[in-house]
Symmetry: C2
Subunit: 397 residues, 2 copies
């Protein structure tokens, strides 16, 4: 099926237009700082029922966006990032559910973040004309506050209220999205009936933090970073961002997946003893890095990796994850993938063990899959089937 | 025991002075290029017996050197990199063996490499004085040829001949050192009686190459790299080299070792929501990167990672590793470490399987160890005991 056919297929939600939610009530952040106002860009698929009881929140991962399914324009070649899972008759069935996917604050895809304009202090009558002329609208850039997953969930709660949804039928996410689903169950226990936590972890390991730190140092030490104010210099730390992405890509794929995808295949027939691309895997990584560095914002990448590092919901509960889940009232679906070495099955089992300790209903599936961490985005039949089973079980009251 | 006491301890070889071997016979390299002459700096411990039959070759790993044991000066705080294994009564017993450890070509620790002076074409009588004045002795820098482990072994063979050794009692190495031991068994089957291949792999995986490629890109895209001629600009790509080292360090340690060493411990008591060091692991990595970038040469790092990528002895034998070992005549000791994810036990088993297929004598030990790839350098009792058992078995004829 080509892109055009896909776009018109019966199980595809077709064309979608992103919506905007502007919130004027200040958002107090975990760091102690405050966003005086913020905007969330989001997409919805399906129809909210009269009771407002069929809403599913999709939480995106690190470099994800609100564009989870469908197409923005007829000529689009690529559908949303979870299009294989969201649509009529799919795992998250838009005939049954009203699906909401917001872009998170701090991102660079439209919600308030480092690339948004920074609110300026109001100009008073007393200001002279010179001062008025000097006030230039400017992006937040490096001044944008560091955020936490708790902050994200709080901002998503505002969107929920705005949409007239009293309780999510389910909150769903993979990787960093799964962390948001957990945080929802902990912070707003009465406001969701189901939570799907896929390929996630209850907190980052030292090794996870180490990889994030190398990525950050690549960006921060790039001479074109200019302490995060690179826009003022008509510049961008593209080299650093590209390195960060190359590195992240290694952690998204399993060793097996890399072997199957590239092995030690040479791009040309033989070794030429130089630093141009020799192995296919080098070519792949350089391309991924370059593409990403041209479209993503470096300050955003720093904020998002820090947001990951800080995630540790147990820390508010005496470092006892079970205690953190004690008040949660939803049913859980937890899934992990055997070759995921970024957030290995052992990390998912920590979540399951904590839930069982406080007698919460949880289904756990460890899926045999070769694709590593990325599996949660892919068509892995056993995973899809189990996930579908869980979503079928979701009552819409 | 403090450094001074260690230095004087009965099982320490004490003060050592590096030696130099100059070879004027050109060395033809795998790449097709040629080194017109080369020097190896090396250390020896113990005494060569009359028959020249008790010599053990130690092959160093990526960033290693010829300084494997003992101290260069009484005030030295740190002994050689394998001092725990080499000395009187130790695993590689200098009362029994004459131990030779050369620094490999391409390195920056004294053997011919990018930081060595490049031979200049001779100035003929016809040259005018201006031209003579212009000829400046210059380092090889980026002009230094890319090398292979096969080239290293060929250069070590020259040193062997120079020292009057007909056959190594054993060739021993960990990681990239283990690759050299394998190459010896393949290229000079009659010239060694034992080979110890520790924490190695028969070739790099796509993931291994991917990590090397990110490291190289960090160096090459550093604006101070100047296409490798950074010395001409009184500069050095320290940022890139530091990133490369940080990244490599993650792959040397196991997730477990990182957890035990750092966990998610904060350097200060609480999160301060900024990009300065927050977690201990960040502090450790930055320090490792900075130290390395001040003492190591970037062109060398590029050459060494490429040398790793190229290693694939089976490729000369129809991609059949067993066939590569067919002519080898030595006994093998192969060891791996359970938490080594850089060169996992599965990679060592590939070596063992190939050896068994062609009926070569091999002892294999998979050691339970928490420290990851670095284990081969550390005091892991079961590994040390088994390694000692193998070395005790080595006959000196």
């Amino acid at each position: 099926m080509n892109a055009h056919e896909r776009h018109l297929a019966a199980d595809n939600i077709g064309l979608v237009t992103p919506k905007r939610f502007h919130c004027d009530t200040p958002l107090k952040l975990t760091s102690g700082r405050e966003l005086p106002s913020f905007e969330l860009v989001y997409e919805t698929y399906g129809v909210l029922n009269n009771k407002g009881s069929n809403a599913v929140l999709i939480c995106h991962a690190l470099s994800g966006s609100h564009h989870a399914a469908g197409f923005h324009a007829p000529e689009d070649k690529k559908a949303g990032w979870w299009d294989g899972f969201i649509g009529p008759g799919k795992v998250i069935d838009t005939n049954k559910f009203f699906v909401v996917c917001p872009n998170n604050i701090g991102s660079c895809y439209g919600s308030t973040g480092p690339t948004s304009l920074k609110p300026q202090p109001p100009i008073t009558e007393a200001d002279d004309t010179d001062a008025k002329a000097k006030v230039k609208t400017k992006e937040w850039g490096a001044d944008f506050p560091l955020i936490t997953i708790k902050d994200w969930v709080a901002s998503q709660k505002r969107l929920m209220d705005h949409l007239g949804i009293n309780q999510w039928a389910a909150v769903v996410g993979g990787s960093m999205g799964g962390m948001q689903a957990m945080q929802w169950a902990i912070d707003y226990p009465e406001q969701l009936r189901h939570a799907a936590v896929i390929a996630a972890a209850p907190k980052l390991s030292a090794q996870n933090i180490a990889f994030n730190e190398v990525a950050r140092q690549a960006i921060i030490t790039d001479p074109e970073f200019f302490a995060g104010q690179y826009k003022d210099h008509d510049s961008a730390p593209k080299r650093g961002l590209s390195l960060a992405r190359m590195l992240a890509h290694i952690t998204y794929l399993s060793d097996e997946a890399m072997r199957e995808k590239f092995g030690r295949d040479l791009r040309n027939e033989k070794i030429h003893f130089g630093y141009d691309v020799e192995f296919q895997v080098e070519s792949y990584l350089r391309y991924q890095g370059q593409m990403f560095s041209q479209s993503f914002d470096a300050n955003t990448y720093l904020i998002l990796t820090k947001c990951l590092d800080y995630f540790d919901p147990a820390s508010e509960y005496g470092d006892d994850l079970a205690k953190a889940f004690e008040r949660s009232q939803c049913r859980f679906f937890v899934a992990s993938f055997t070759t995921d070495w970024r957030f290995s099955p052992a990390r998912s089992r920590e979540i399951v063990d904590a839930l069982m300790k406080v007698h919460k209903p949880v289904s756990y599936l460890e899926v045999q899959a070769r694709q590593g961490h990325d599996s949660f985005l892919l068509n892995v039949p056993r995973y899809k089937k189990a996930f579908e089973g869980f979503m079928n079980m979701v009552d819409i009251l």
